[in-house]
Symmetry: C2
């Protein structure tokens, strides 16, 4: 039995969404964050050596890392759907944006967050450089979403499922305004209109409205 | 013609190594870092919107992101070698460690580096939390390399090629000592003994000895 261990308001929402888009038969186990520090509770950390969300179990298998879980589910339970294979249109765009999500976008958002927490002053040159990089990253996504409705082209793929968390729920942790990026905002409206995304967000975090507007939640 | 644009002392060494392990026919174009700030020179940044290493060109294609390039080369030029497919032993280990490299390991090394540059004092609670996470990440790699000689099992795969940069050349930028992790050190000696790794490092950075010892370069 495939079980998805979802930590509330975390990257594991990607996998809930993926399961809903693929129409998989899965059990969702939901875990609340600790009230004192917003981290994963001990029973979540005990599931896997790294203790980070997402985690799935499938028979004897315990697997972490969003990218690994997405590839695993698509290959073993999803009949290859939502991936783009060699020879299909959008193959290299798919590869680029799938890996860009956790290789470039999410790290730069986290860097700005951590550096602001360490020292938010304007004389912090490391923070200023990180903010410049943040703007370059978002400009690059903005440009891509002016060329195509989804990252790999005309249809939603797992590359979109990998990237959307950093543009939405991540803004609970690092509030930032998407007003400078109209293509990204229009993209989030397309995502928010998808029945599978709506079902996923309702199951993943029933008390949280999806974070799809320009202004971050207060 | 496949051209690999290698920025000296950067993550693009992964792709030089991958090309050598696969025995590909490729052209290596090497770019020196700027002397004033150690960043990529303007002609490197001009190759791709993000301007980050690695970048390949292949006919009309311009592709960035290590993970995307590795998957692309293995699929289109490497006949699937160095990847582990569904049904083969080590499939889920391969997926996990391949994605762990840039999804978890490299970001935590960068976080510690940036936070130390912003404020290295011991009262910096954000830095202390990042250091704890750094130790958890390295302990997890150490444990894995006590179970198997390579990350996916008995043989070298692209998961190893993704991870080794953060354990070696990255220590020029964020010096850290690997003495607490004997399995990782023994692994680096196995890597350093590979003819393809030796050829790659000689081509990528002929003036730099591979960073394989416990102590970081001074």
């Amino acid at each position: 039995m495939l079980t998805l261990h979802h930590l509330g308001r975390s990257q594991s929402e990607r996998i809930v969404w993926l399961c809903e888009e693929l129409g998989l038969d899965y059990e969702l186990k939901r875990y609340e964050r600790r009230k004192d520090n917003r981290l994963a509770p001990p029973e979540y950390k005990a599931l896997h050596p790294m203790g980070t969300a997402p985690i799935i179990t499938d028979g004897d298998l315990v697997l972490g890392e969003s990218g690994a879980i997405a590839e695993y589910l698509i290959e073993t339970h999803g009949n290859g759907r939502l991936a783009v294979k060699r020879g299909q249109p959008g193959f290299t765009d798919y590869l680029y944006w799938f890996h860009f999500a956790n290789g470039t976008l999410q790290p730069v958002v986290l860097q700005v967050r951590y550096l602001e927490r360490a020292d938010p002053s304007e004389k912090n040159a490391v923070l200023q450089a990180a903010k410049e990089r943040f703007n370059l990253v978002f400009s690059t996504v903005e440009k891509r979403l002016g060329e195509a409705p989804y990252l790999a082209g005309k249809e939603l793929t797992a590359a979109d499922i990998m990237i959307v968390f950093s543009l939405t729920t991540m803004r609970l942790f690092k509030p930032y305004d998407l007003s400078p990026w109209p293509n990204i905002l229009a993209y989030l409206q397309r995502i928010g209109a998808r029945p599978a995304y709506q079902r996923a967000m309702q199951k993943a975090d029933p008390d949280m409205p999806p974070v799809l507007e320009a202004k971050p939640p207060v």
